[in-house]
């Protein structure tokens, strides 16, 4: 589903990604962990070209990210959920979800609103359709953001630390939605600090540090028997 070859990314002189090769299969749930500043978020943001790679080739579902029209095409198929939700504050929850399908997919407004309502139901917020984002708690906002991304019927979902900005008691309501999504067979790439989620839901765990994939494998195996020194030292601090 996602193919990354020789990905490099530098901000000025600061080289954040130093050669990443990665293949993500359909329906795979890949969890990326690593210390802050390791490049894990940048790697994720390169997958839908929110960051432009300095070098390397990325393709999603066979479409190469090498032209403006291809980039837009890929973004239609790749949903993204941000750490800070990034809901549109001037629109109701329902409008937030229905906007892109109408403007990008050209579905009718009626159909888009119908889909939006059923998605809200799915994330447990059917009663919040007419609310504005700032009337919702962080956990509710993040669930709306997931519904908004799903409204485009994406083939892949990218999550950039989706629970890092939440109060602890709201983390689970978001993780539950993500778990359900994984169960339904969504291809997912998740950057997170939630080790429990990684262990329970992930098909594969990637440990990234200093711009490189240091170690990867089945989550349980990596957690219980890390092979690399840096993985060991990181896990000893977070587990």
């Amino acid at each position: 589903m996602i193919d990354i070859k020789g990905l490099h990314k530098a901000f000025g002189k600061n080289e954040v990604l130093k050669g990443i090769d990665l293949h993500i299969a359909e329906k795979e749930v890949v969890v990326i962990i690593g210390p802050s500043g390791s490049g894990k978020s940048t790697l994720l943001r390169c997958m839908n070209y929110l960051e432009e790679p300095t070098a390397g080739d990325i393709s999603v579902d066979g479409i190469h990210l090498n032209s403006e029209s291809n980039i837009n095409k890929v973004r239609e198929e790749v949903g993204m959920v941000f750490q800070r939700f990034n809901l549109f504050p001037h629109m109701t929850v329902l409008e937030n979800i229905a906007l892109a399908p109408v403007k990008v997919r050209h579905v009718s407004r009626t159909e888009a609103l119908e889909t939006a309502n059923s998605l809200l139901d799915r994330v447990g917020l059917a009663d919040k359709a007419q609310a504005y984002p700032e009337q919702l708690s962080g956990g509710q906002q993040q669930r709306v953001a997931i519904a908004r991304a799903l409204a485009m019927k994406p083939k892949v979902m990218l999550f950039d630390e989706p629970t890092s900005a939440l109060d602890p008691e709201m983390v689970n309501e978001v993780l539950d939605v993500m778990k359900a999504l994984a169960k339904e067979g969504m291809t997912m790439v998740v950057v997170t600090h939630e080790m429990g989620f990684a262990r329970e839901v992930g098909d594969r765990l990637l440990f990234v540090d200093e711009g490189r994939i240091i170690e990867q494998g089945e989550p349980k195996a990596v957690f219980e028997d890390p092979q690399e020194e840096r993985t060991k030292s990181f896990l000893s601090k977070v587990l």
């Binding site: 929110l50 973004r75 239609e76 790749v78 941000f82 549109f88 001037h90 892109a100 403007k103």
Partner: protein
């Protein structure tokens, strides 16, 4: 010194018709200025370099030269090139609107740049183009934030419209000059003119304050 109240009373209707013209010029210039300002302001931050440079030159030139000179350029210098006389009404609105467009562009640019970068990322990641995201996400939010500075710009423009009196266009200031030429009542007429301007600018500032309150409430719901 004596203050001739009769002169004030007798001149008032004539001054008011001048004030109506001032309002007309201001309203039309504001409309032109907002349209120009929106496009130039967006062009200032778009990713097409030639557009960005063109917009910057526009803003620099119009903010860097006096409005009075710009009025002369349009009314006196333009006919030299085109060989056609420029209508004073057209010259008044064009010069005020084009000038205001530069200031409005800077207001919009600042307003747009004050919107969290995550909003653009969210729009783009949903597959919307840069232009669509601007139109549906960024600009509507920026609009609310620029209401106060936009109000200041409209007040400035209303006052600056007095400059078009120099090309003989009969708005409020010019009406005042003409009455004085006939009656020599400088004191009475200039005070009357000042009070009428003040009444108009206060009306605008109250209206802007009302808009600000209304949209603040809207934002929260």
């Amino acid at each position: 010194m004596s203050f001739n109240w009769d002169l004030v009373m007798n001149s008032f209707p004539l001054l008011l018709t001048g004030a109506v013209v001032t309002v007309q010029i201001t309203a039309l210039s504001v409309a032109l200025g907002v349209i120009i300002g929106l496009f130039v302001g967006v062009a200032r931050i778009c990713h097409v370099a030639p557009l960005r440079i063109l917009a910057a030159v526009y803003v620099d030139f119009l903010r860097g030269t006096p409005l009075l000179v710009q009025i002369f350029l349009i009314y006196f210098a333009l006919p030299v090139i085109t060989g056609q006389r420029v209508d004073p009404f057209f010259a008044a609105i064009a010069s005020c609107g084009i000038n205001s467009g530069a200031y409005v562009a800077e207001i919009f640019r600042a307003g747009i740049q004050s919107i969290d970068a995550g909003q653009m990322e969210a729009g783009r990641s949903l597959g919307m183009t840069w232009m669509q995201t601007m139109r549906y996400i960024i600009v509507p939010q920026a609009f609310k934030r620029v209401i106060p500075p936009l109000g200041n710009e409209f007040i400035a423009l209303l006052k600056d419209s007095s400059l078009v009196s120099v090309i003989g266009f009969e708005e409020l200031t010019r009406r005042g000059q003409l009455i004085i030429a006939r009656t020599y009542g400088s004191l009475e007429i200039w005070i009357s003119v000042a009070i009428i301007y003040l009444a108009m600018t206060l009306t605008i500032s109250r209206f802007v304050a009302y808009l600000e309150r209304r949209y603040k409430v809207d934002d929260r719901h």
